[in-house]
Amino acid sequence: MSHLSLLETAFTPWPSLAGGVLIGLASVMLMLTLGRIMGVTGVLAGVLTPQAHPDIGWRLALLAGMISAPLAVLAVTGQMPVVQVPVSMPMLLVGGVVVGVGVTLGSGCTSGHGVCGMARLSRRSFAATLTFMITTGVTVFILRHGLGG
């Protein structure tokens, strides 16, 4: 990997906790209003295959809200959220395809399995979350420390 992978990031327990609480609140509110799991994989898949998911309006509204969040943060704080990408474009594309295939076969990602599923004490989601946390950690280790890095 390139020198970019050596980006330092500061430990931010409070913003991260506040962000986590907002993610949790949004998940609870979606269940309270529409009775739906806040799983980004499922919401996105529903938009991408509308013939199988006719109820597309709420999914589009949810995605629109998510995508407009950085502008809301900019409006309130005067700064865009920090996005540092220490990954080359080819690796981003490879990673993107692998993520897309993986979350589709695994029926969920960090939000659906990792937050909502675990909060429902779903064994399936615990198994999924444990699995992807391990393979993510192993992949990062190999890329950063295993290949002459």
């Binding site: 996005v83 540092q84 993986g102 992807f132």
Partner: protein, 149 residues
């Protein structure tokens, strides 16, 4: 009403993602780089989100139905199978390569960064690829899936 409330829920979710650091691949990859530049912040994201969702679901799911939908839509598949674990394992590999998960990437789209656009486009291609694989008939799909995972 339904669309507006869902839009606001998406906005809250995306804001949580943005301030938590989940939309920042450098932070995500450093979280998994325990042997290197470890940044434990994301424990607080996951912890905050899961605790709030767990408590909120306990209250909300006592209701007979959600507020603006006739029924709760809860996954009821209990099976922990090769597809779940293989897909989740793949997802982790992709997450470790790119540093974006679906819930991190979609809010990050709002920053307009070309890297995020590229990742999301590749992820969508991966979702269609996996859906294509899954829609292949019986034995052939199983065979392809085994090769894929």
């Amino acid at each position: 009403m339904r669309l507006l409330s869902t839009y606001l829920i998406g906005l809250i979710f995306g804001t949580g993602i943005a301030i938590s650091g989940m939309a920042n691949p450098a932070k995500v990859l450093n979280f998994f780089d325990v042997a290197g530049r470890w940044d434990p912040s994301l424990i607080f994201v996951m912890g905050g989100a899961v605790v709030v969702t767990f408590l909120g679901y306990r209250i909300v799911l006592r209701r007979p139905a959600p507020l603006i939908d006739p029924a709760f839509h809860l996954p009821d598949n209990p099976r922990i199978d090769a597809r779940l674990l293989g897909g989740s394992a793949l997802f982790g590999v992709g997450w470790g390569i790119a540093g974006f998960c679906p819930g991190g990437a979609l809010p990050a789209l709002g920053t307009g960064r070309i890297e995020v656009v590229a990742f999301v486009a590749a992820m969508i291609a991966g979702i269609y690829l996996a859906k294509g694989l899954l829609s292949l008939s019986g034995a052939r799909a199983a065979r392809l899936l085994r090769r894929e995972t």
